[in-house]
Symmetry: C2
Subunit: 215 residues, 2 copies
DNA sequence: AATTAATCGGTAAAAAATTACTGAATTATG
DNA sequence: CATAATTCAGTAATTTTTTACCGATTAATT
């Protein structure tokens, strides 16, 4: 079980995990790399490599791997086993949506508090999550025991909020604002980039349109 | 200007575009690949390749490229120039958030209608976007002139909704539901995958934690 | 007007990722 | 109990992506 996963590999892991969880739901006990590859339309050798990098034990010939153990390996590598506490900053439309979104627990994420600077929101509760004054982040954060900060403020404030989070001792930032932010390199940063996701789709529409013109 | 962009390239394009738009805001007129590389912490040769694949004209030595023209090239390749009309299906917490989100126009996307099957929502309007009965998708969709469908329903209904959208003649699907959906191959599909984004972050937290243990 | 400095595009080299292959091991089947 | 069918791990080959290099070109400077 190596720990040096490439970025591409890391992108595939959640797909495997989703599939495995589904299969387990359907009563499957053992799973082979070949089967996974077929399900996800991937090359079987690629899957073999990925699984080998994640799995803590060898597969069984003509049988595959115990799906329960494999899921555990994935969850461990992805850090989904030990639940992470997160705080969300910026209770606007997107922020509210995320507070109400109940799917995060699947990924071992729990939102334990929110911050905003709007007096009308401070003190209120959304989906049992308390909203604190973002100007008092430093003190509040330490009591919440959170190590992930979710940024949902408008682009113009994202960097400022990131700085505050870092100053308050956060370890990782998940940025939903459509802008680049910079943090010192021992802080982990992941961008939830709608632009990128949309770009893939939009570019293909562009190609399709041009193809039509040609004909 | 080639049109065969690799997936990695496609992922970088929105970053370039965001940067270029920012620079333009700040009054920059000309931009070189070197500068772009420096700003984004990328290899300059890589940037050169990417720009060459997108730009419709050559750069000027010792000067760079006209930033306005370059932005236009990006917007064209990404399909952001001709505005795409989209409909959103599933006006739950996330769906509402997206309806209220005003950043899509930056990407040439306009939500022209929404669908839900909840009678309390049907007929209402959110952010000037009308909510229609999702059971009457087929007829309604044709009047809205939309070619992108945004799926925001719970996982269990995502495939069903995708089928309805395809049957109603949609060209592309942007899936926000945390599940895999399948469509016939002439329909474009892009997943807005929070799991993937979170995985990157979560895995690094895992590595960090293990490192601490070692010491 | 000549020189300098910086950029470009194209090609070549290096690195990384993916795919293919091979032999050994194990379960299931006849 | 032997055979056949799968699967696995590890290595090798291929493809793709990224990085480096080089001569030509052009704007700015003197």
């Amino acid at each position: 079980m190596s720990k040096n996963l490439s970025k591409n590999q890391l992108r595939r892991l959640p797909e495997y995990l989703t599939l495995l969880r589904n299969l387990k739901q359907n009563g499957i006990k053992y799973i082979s790399c070949q089967t996974i590859a077929d399900c996800l339309n991937l090359n079987k050798e690629l899957v073999r490599k990925d699984i080998a990098a994640v799995s803590s034990y060898d597969g069984v010939p003509n049988k595959g791997r115990d799906i329960v153990l494999l899921i555990k390996d994935f969850e461990k590598i992805l850090g989904y086993d030990s639940s992470h506490n997160a705080v969300l900053v910026g209770v606007g439309s997107l922020g509210k949506a995320l507070l109400c979104y109940d799917g995060f627990s699947t990924y071992g994420l729990k939102i334990v508090g929110a911050f905003d600077r709007n007096p009308e929101l401070i003190g209120r509760t959304i989906n049992d999550i308390h909203i604190y004054d973002s100007r008092r982040m430093f003190g509040t954060l330490s009591t919440l025991n959170a190590n992930i900060g979710i940024i949902c403020v408008p682009s113009g404030f994202a960097q400022e909020v990131a700085n505050d989070l870092v100053d308050s001792g956060i370890e990782a930032i998940w940025n939903f604002a459509p802008t680049k932010i910079e943090v010192k390199k021992d802080v982990i940063l992941s961008n939830m980039d709608m632009a990128t996701s949309l770009a893939v789709l939009s570019h293909q529409l562009y190609l399709k349109k041009n193809k039509r013109k040609e004909n």
